[in-house]
């Protein structure tokens, strides 16, 4: 009887679709999150998700395709943030603050002015994992495959540009090109996952699997596969628990990730700090 109860949610197609997309989105965010965390771009992930909200609102008002409107807007915001922060007149955090909050405010203004757009905007803000279509699953899977291919193909250049951009630049790696590649992948990831867990929780899913993986390994190569695996587990398990807990799936996914991170930090963090205390630093 218990086994039948545990399998009950799988008899509903909307749950199966939700589980698939939450797992895929977790894996994708986990993969891209490695670069987000190691490059200190967590705030960019948070900001871009807000920028996408502005683009989504505009697309809804103009009756354009969501992916077209939000995608163009998110990509333009990402590239603009990169450009403004490279000029070094203002810091990257300030550039993100200005560009993405302006975009978010525009979304809110459009929502207030054109009430009929409210339904799809709510989906972007808070996520709607149980209302996904096959096209959403294909979009996440497509960006996932693209990301894996690009990251494997440019692995060493991306690693070099992330770890040591100055030396990478003089060693023949085009650091601005690598930054643009990552920004495009991040924008695309946010674009296709934002409807699953929502603008307000997406930055956590970009960060949690990667920081948990970081606690478990000292190798970039291992972190790059461990983080997507953890993200997939957070997404799948969080989605499954949300069915029984009757809590919004986005919140459960993040809480599941947070609990695993706390466990990893407590166990591995204490051990590592003890080891590091014994190492003679320069």
């Amino acid at each position: 009887m218990i086994a039948v109860d545990l399998l009950k949610p799988f008899s509903y197609e909307f749950f199966r679709n939700g589980l698939i997309i939450a797992t895929l989105a977790g894996a994708l965010c986990g993969l891209i999150g490695v670069f987000v965390v190691l490059r200190g771009m967590s705030y960019i992930g948070h900001g871009l998700s807000h920028a996408v909200f502005g683009g989504a609102a505009l697309a809804a008002v103009l009756n354009l395709n969501y992916f077209l409107g939000a995608g163009f807007w998110g990509l333009a915001s990402g590239l603009m943030i990169g450009r403004v922060s490279r000029k070094r007149i203002i810091g990257a955090d300030a550039a993100i603050g200005v560009i993405t909050t302006a975009s978010f405010a525009m979304g809110l203004a459009l929502q207030a002015r054109f009430g009929q757009a409210k339904r799809s905007i709510d989906a972007v803000l808070f996520g709607n994992v149980l209302g996904v279509f096959t096209s959403d699953i294909l979009a996440v899977a497509g960006v996932g495959v693209l990301s894996v291919v690009v990251i494997i193909g440019l692995y060493r250049k991306l690693l070099f540009a992330t770890f040591d951009p100055e030396v990478a630049g003089v060693s023949g790696v085009s650091v601005p090109a690598m930054e643009a590649v990552l920004m495009v992948l991040l924008s695309a990831t946010i674009l296709v996952t934002v409807r699953v867990i929502g603008v307000l929780l997406i930055s956590a899913l970009l960060v949690l699997p990667a920081v948990t993986a970081r606690m478990l390994t000292n190798s970039f190569g291992r972190m790059l596969w461990l983080s997507p695996v953890l993200g997939a587990i957070f997404g799948g398990v969080g989605m499954y628990i949300s069915w029984y807990a009757d809590i919004p799936s986005g919140a459960v996914i993040i809480l599941a990730g947070t609990l695993v991170f706390i466990a990893a930090y407590s166990v591995v963090g204490v051990r590592r700090r003890t080891q590091l205390a014994g190492i003679n630093h320069h």
Partner: protein, 271 residues
């Protein structure tokens, strides 16, 4: 018999070179020539433009006046200051050394021949068996040698190092200096690797090098330590009077006014 540097081919030549970051020039009218197999130290105070000179040599800063010419096909490798490294980055010794190698399409991990190459370079620098270690789990000297290994695996003709002994203890400084001298004299790929480094350390490092350039926005003096470490040049470079003593045939630079400062500090602590 070893040739004098002037007989060796020129690897790089800066002529009347000035560079800026968009505003006033940071370095001006610089004339420096580096020959194959030379070992050159650039000394000067903080903010004197030493790092900008290195960046110009590396090509990451372009001259606004004058020129910098490099031998066609010149292979340069750069070792940054250890202080700029993110020691919390999840990267092993093997990953650091391998990241500078070109990658075969869709094959990110090092192949067997490449692993053997990485291990050879690490072995040569006394880092054998540390491939899987995280970079933070090494001593200061080992950390510096990991970044040297990453540079060497690119088989450079010229190695450029920014403050390789900044913030390291005396033993590590000796280690680094000996490794660099070995590379300069007997590199793995034939001819001597030219080495250019910046340093603040006049007595511990600069005085041991065959050629020194005193630098403060431009070249103040260029020659052997005996020629360059002179009170006149040092005062022009550092903007403060300095005394030079001879000890065991080596110049030893002392700050003038040190006794007076020490006495004042003693008086203030006594009161």
């Amino acid at each position: 018999m070893k040739k004098s540097p002037g007989e060796d081919p020129i690897l790089m030549k800066c002529e009347h070179m000035s560079c800026s970051y968009g505003g006033a020039p940071v370095i001006e009218n610089v004339d420096v020539t580096i020959h194959r197999g030379e070992f050159v130290g650039i000394v000067g105070p903080s903010g004197s433009g030493k790092t900008t000179l290195l960046r110009a040599m590396l090509g990451s800063v372009k001259p606004i006046h004058g020129s910098i010419k490099r031998q066609p096909g010149l292979r340069l490798a750069y070792v940054p200051q250890l202080e700029t490294v993110d020691w919390n980055f999840p990267v092993t010794v093997g990953e650091v050394v391998g990241m500078s190698r070109p990658q075969r399409l869709m094959r990110p991990q090092a192949q067997a021949s490449e692993i053997s190459l990485i291990e050879d370079v690490l072995e040569r620098l006394g880092l054998g068996g540390l491939t899987q270690r995280h970079i933070r789990e090494l001593s200061g000297g080992q950390q510096q040698r990991v970044f040297l290994a990453r540079a060497l695996i690119q088989k450079p003709d010229m190695l450029i190092l920014d403050e390789p002994t900044a913030g390291v203890d005396v033993r590590t400084r000796h280690e680094v200096l000996h490794v660099l001298a070995d590379l300069n004299e007997s590199p793995p790929n034939g001819d001597g690797i030219a080495i250019v480094l910046t340093t603040h350390d006049l007595n511990g490092l600069a005085a041991h090098l065959p050629r020194l350039v005193c630098f403060n926005r431009t070249v103040i003096a260029d020659g052997s330590p005996a020629e360059v470490l002179q009170p006149y040049f040092l005062e022009r470079t550092y903007g403060a009077p300095m005394e030079v003593l001879q000890h065991g045939g080596m110049p030893v630079v002392l700050e003038q006014g040190g006794d007076e400062l020490r006495n004042r500090l003693n008086r203030s602590s006594a009161s």
